[in-house]
């Protein structure tokens, strides 16, 4: 087995020597170009394009959660809270929900005549980033001294509390007969994004939506890559690997952890705001615990801590959930004489994927190098060798 691995590694290194140094940038440019022209290859309102849009938004979420779970090592099981905050930013600042006030900034002439708060989608995105970053820090605060699975439970509890607030918000007044949320009735008729020159996005032509979410993805990906290689990113990894050692080396624990929560939450908020606008409704029923686990599954399947893994995991599970299961394979059980639809057990499928990945390939599909060494025990093996006889050429 190890001989085979060594052989594979040799071939990989040989292949790496063959490609020119500008290959990485060329590949990135190529991928972006493919991403931009992708919607022209399919119908403007096809199920595939719809699945792609949702999958890309999920990938944004996975990239955000990867900052918290992967890089900083804080297992956040309440990530749905930021989906909720982001979506409610659309409901609050981009619809007629707060009918008692009239605020209009940078919206289409038609929308400017309506009651309520109507901000341009870019401003809503910024609002979602700010709201979620603050909420992320508040949620992170009680977990600062906790480690491991206790963090998971506290964040889960916060996520559930936010969910309960979203459902019951229709009985919390904010003055003038207006309520905090619309609960399970949902805030409907939220504004479609509008930009000068583009007009309002419609649901018949999905291409503008795709480019919008693709742009968000590129921004989030860029920030992710830059942060990973920055001082902050290295501090996260140090904290994840050994908190005591990291703190004694002078890494500010509180600031570093809170930054992880804030940045991860901000990305989740951007995706949440996009979902709010795309689904044209903000309904408390969307913010269930299962959603948090769905995003965790993306990060785990892709490879915990790996940016490309989170991107791939998000796209993969997004496609599976929104295209493959409902559109392609939904009637598979009935082909075997079973009387249920595959979409009703989608969470069971994701649960199975989680167990499978964790037991068979714990480092995920596209592992981060450091994490994969750790998980496959190579580091431990090397440590063991260091402790015993010196290893060297005989």
């Amino acid at each position: 087995m190890s001989e085979l691995q060594a052989q594979l590694r040799e071939w990989r290194d040989a292949a790496e020597r063959l490609v020119p140094p500008w290959w990485g940038k060329a590949l990135a440019g190529l991928l972006v170009a493919v991403g931009v022209i992708l919607p022209f290859l399919t119908g403007s309102s096809s199920g595939f394009l719809n699945g792609t849009i949702v999958a890309v938004a999920y990938a944004v979420m996975a990239l955000g959660l990867n900052v918290v779970v992967g890089m900083a090592g804080l297992l956040d099981l309440g990530y749905v809270a930021f989906y909720a905050f982001g979506a409610y930013c659309v409901g609050w600042f981009g619809s007629g929900f707060f009918f008692g006030v009239r605020v209009h900034v940078g919206v289409s002439p038609l929308t400017s005549t309506l009651a309520g708060i109507h901000l341009n989608f870019v401003l809503i995105l910024l609002a979602a980033v700010v709201v979620c970053a603050v909420a992320g820090m508040i949620i992170g605060l009680p977990t600062l001294r906790l480690r491991g699975d206790y963090i998971a439970i506290v964040t889960l509890a916060f996520g559930e509390i936010i969910g309960v607030l979203a459902v019951n918000g229709q009985s919390i007044g904010v003055g003038g007969g207006m309520t905090l949320t619309a609960g399970n009735l949902g805030i409907s008729a939220v504004d479609s994004p509008w930009f000068p020159g583009s007009g309002s996005f419609g649901l018949l032509d999905l291409r503008p939506w795709y480019w919008l979410v693709f742009g968000i993805l590129l921004i989030v990906l860029f920030v992710n890559l830059r942060v990973r290689d920055s001082r902050l990113g290295r501090a996260w990894i140090a904290l994840r690997e050994d908190e005591v050692a990291a703190v004694s080396m002078g890494i500010p624990l509180v600031k570093t952890k809170l930054m992880a929560y804030a940045i991860g939450a901000a990305f989740g908020g951007m995706a949440g705001a996009f979902f709010g606008a795309y689904f044209t409704e903000v309904n408390a029923g969307q913010f269930a615990f299962g959603f948090s686990i769905f995003i965790v599954a993306m990060v785990v399947v892709g490879g915990i801590g790996s940016i490309w893994g989170a991107l791939a995991g998000g796209l993969l599970l997004g496609y599976i959930n929104n295209y493959l299961i409902p559109d392609v394979l939904n009637n598979l059980p009935s082909a075997f004489g079973l009387s249920f639809q595959l979409s009703s057990v989608s969470f069971g499928i994701f649960g199975f994927l989680l167990v499978l990945v964790m037991t068979v390939r714990p480092q995920g599909l596209f592992p981060e190098r450091r994490r994969s060494l750790e998980l496959t025990g190579e580091i431990a093996a090397q440590d063991g060798e260091l402790g015993s006889e010196p290893v060297g050429p005989a």
């Binding site: 906790l146 509890a157 509180v254 965790v296 964790m358």
Partner: protein, 362 residues
Amino acid sequence: MLAARPAAAVLAALRRYGGRWGLIVALAALPVYYGVTDLVNGYQAAVVAGHPVIHHDLSRLGFNFAEGLSDGAIWALIAIGYTLVYGIIELINFAHGDVFMIGSFTAVGIWSVLGLSLTTSALGVIGGLAVSLVIAMLTTGSLNVLIERVAYKPLRNAPKLAPLITAIGFSFILQNVGLLWRGGSQQSVTDLIGAQKVVFTIGGVPILRGYIVAWAVMVPLVLALSWFISRTRPGRAMRATAQDPEAARLMGINVNNTVSLTFLIGGALAGAAGLIYAVYETQVWYFQGFQAGLFAFTAAVMGGIGNVRGAVLGGLIIGVIQSLSDERIGPQWTEAIVFAYLIAIMVLRPTGLLGEETREAG
């Protein structure tokens, strides 16, 4: 980031001076507040001929407690499973709540196999319940052992998040098994014992049959468990493994078997809780395990995780909080209130009411 440092200082101060008493005060706040308002302002006990009857006594609070302590019996049995497993391998067995759900479903399934119905004689119902209790406990116990073998044992030496993630995975798998088994909506089951019938009344507080069944199952099981853990050889092996697995192994204890035994016991207790739930609530649902699991986990943390007595105490307290909140604030807020308590415990005293310092929480 300026706010971060004072915030951490406030947190540390809260923990130092808050501690156990802070937690006790926080827990006493709800019953004391409602007791005082009942005595001072009174409450509407009934409507007679269109006129509300106002009482000024504590029997409404007593009713909350009676109901809460019986709900709490269910949470206590589930919480023991969390606390045993956490004590021995430091894993939050996330699938535990869903094992409880499977226990409920198994019990209800056995009832229909045995043909229990409203017309069955009292002796037949008691015998049938005893049989279904044993079968449900065996089923959930073996299921829990199976989960441990498949999903946790291969990851014993992996980073700590790995088994937690597989636990979540199994939780969803079991939920979908339940979904396919009995459908996606709340299902009524036969009210075999007449759970809402009043047996007797103490000080104006009606004691229902459901309460008595809950206690009649919970108390002997907890007593048997504490005898088992403190007096028998396998129980001693469990305690030794919880304290130091490596040293226990060196002393000749088969750690793998001990861990499996722990999962067997925890799962069996969850099965018993599942039976009580089905008898008492007279409805089952594939999603019941999610909330139950979180409530029971909160109970385990509240009592001090790793501590069986603490888990029972925590379960009963959570039951009372739940029933107070259900009846006085509104059931739609109960979940949020219990979780707010969970967060408060984590901030004030992560070691819980009776717990020792643990590495994770310290």
